[in-house]
């Protein structure tokens, strides 16, 4: 049964190797501070602790195999021994084994591929393409988590809005029925560009509640400003996906049919480097 032994060992190598690689990569990401590219920081501690458990556990698993004690009992290796005898059973068996080999190889390729990509490619954020595809303008995306504070702002001029991010403003604008209170407020916000129609674009951030899979784009429409002509604000839309800081004032949306009734009238649009933590939570 050495072939089935070899196969179950190979499966164990794949399993242990991928745990080891993924766990080390997680620890490295945490070390350099980029774990938040993939998951919400509130799960960092849990993730790091169990990754730290996974490293010695998988090394112990490898050591046990190296010392010849590795009865890994891979489920796939010995299935055929319990199949019915007889010609029909055997023929079905051959087909089933072929299917299993194909599926198993495909799974192995995906495992190796994603593991290698995880370690070799530099981590990066989701692109503007995904933001568009997840419908950045939809009213659905209004009250992403944790924006309860926003409503209390209404009517009270004294509230400090300088810490407000794209998510907070987007939520506030969509929740508000009386938008006159907001018009004229000065904002300075950073996000990436999702181009819109004729000179406008959507200043976008992804909001993450758990991990990048659930990333929801939130955004504010930015229209070119008409006032001081200090550059940037007039007409030219930055390229899709570029990170920019927009300074301007909230204004009523000139397009009455649009979902959002408030837009940012940009006085100044500056291209900036991608922030260290590109997501909001």
């Amino acid at each position: 049964m050495s072939s089935s032994d070899a196969r179950s060992n190979a499966a164990a190598y794949l399993g242990l190797g991928s745990v080891l690689a993924a766990a080390l990569c997680t620890l490295w990401l945490a070390l350099v501070g980029h774990l938040d590219l993939y998951i919400n920081p509130r799960y960092s501690v849990f993730t790091v602790v169990l990754a730290a458990v996974g490293v010695p556990a998988s090394i112990a698993g490898l050591v046990v195999i190296a010392r010849g004690h590795g009865h890994t009992h891979g489920d796939d290796a010995d299935e055929h021994e319990h199949e019915p005898d007889g010609d029909r059973g055997r023929r079905g068996l051959g087909r089933r084994r072929a299917v299993r080999v194909v599926l198993g190889s495909a799974a192995a390729i995906v495992t190796v591929g994603v593991t290698v990509a995880m370690l070799v490619l530099p981590p990066t954020t989701l692109s503007a393409r995904t933001a568009q595809q997840r419908s950045v303008d939809s009213a659905t995306l209004s009250n992403a988590t944790g924006s309860e504070a926003a409503v209390s702002l209404l009517g009270s001029e004294g509230v400090d809005t300088s810490e407000y991010g794209v998510k907070d403003w987007a939520a506030l604008i969509r929740q508000t029925t009386d938008t006159t209170a907001l018009v004229g407020k000065q904002v300075e916000l950073t996000g990436f560009v999702v181009p819109g129609d004729d000179g406008s674009f959507t200043l976008t951030r992804f909001v993450i509640s758990c991990c990048a899979v659930d990333a929801q784009p939130v955004g504010l429409s930015v229209v070119p400003g008409d006032d001081d002509g200090s550059g940037g604000g007039s007409g030219t839309v930055p390229d899709e996906g570029k990170w920019v800081t927009v300074r301007g004032a909230l204004a009523a949306n000139p397009d009455q049919s649009a979902d959002a009734r408030i837009v940012v009238k940009a006085a100044k649009v500056t291209e900036v480097a991608q922030p260290k933590d590109p997501y909001e939570y």
Partner: protein, 337 residues
Amino acid sequence: MTTTTRPPQRTRSLTGPGLVLLVVVVLLGIRLFSPSIGTTGLPDVVQDFLTLAISVVVESLPFVVLGIVLSIVVEVWVPVGALEKVLPQNAFGRRAVISLIGMLFPVCECGNVPLARGLMMRGFTPAEAVTFLVAAPILNPLVIISTAQAFGWSGWILPVRIVGGFVVANLVGWIVAAHRRPADLLLPAFEARCRAAVGAPRGLHRWRQSAAQFGGETATMMPALFVGAGLAAAIQVAVPRSTLVAIGSNPVLSVAAMMLLAMTVSLCSNVDAFFALSFASTFLPGSITAFLIIGPIIDVKMIALLRTTFRVRFLVLLSVVCVLFAGAVGLVMNVLV
């Protein structure tokens, strides 16, 4: 079990494990000496696919590790009979108690698969293990707290999620128990492994056994996890979310849409409430509840993981029962609440 036919000699091999370590170290070296962040020039679609797949892996890996560790504890370290003594004799009562085990082991769904395997290798019947598997990702303290944080203690969503999870788990457990041969729902290899493991004398080398078990379980679970992550990411990249979200206000279609969303996004049940919250403004509460019931039980990542242990016919049964149940709960809530 190959052990019965295997020649007695042990193959001491350093090459395999050494090679694995070498590859991992080389990859890690590349990681350490390449820029820590940046773009690679890959097309956006490929890049986003990889980012999404990696994020599912990073998110799920700790739960899978925790699940495997707990399954090793249950299988290797908890004394024979210790668990069984506290459980009621009556089958219904037994399953009802088992569906609350998740309160003690707060593992979300991807960690529950290895734990359920560990329980079956201890001698739990498939019906009991399945009851645990369906109930635990909903009936556990972390999930209840995060759902309460998202939706508040008042209102219908939290109680219906808790009660619904309990009922559907016991319903599925009852159906499996009523099956002519419940063992037929398991993959033959796994069933044989259970038969061999139950009642077998405990080894003296518990640590060695634990390490070997870790190797065996990762061999089964990791490829499934990566495939599940790949599928979830591929669906995310290929299907625009707006097509699903567009039908939020229709009482019937919105239930279907939220259930489809839950099954494709493949979120961990500990955090899915926060995600669902962002849809609360446009979707009816019944649809949100259907999302919260079906998501922890069935999604593309979970199906890949369950496939390591169960036959396709069980997965079909589970999907049909749970989709009908969650859909019915959602519709009733949409009409009544």
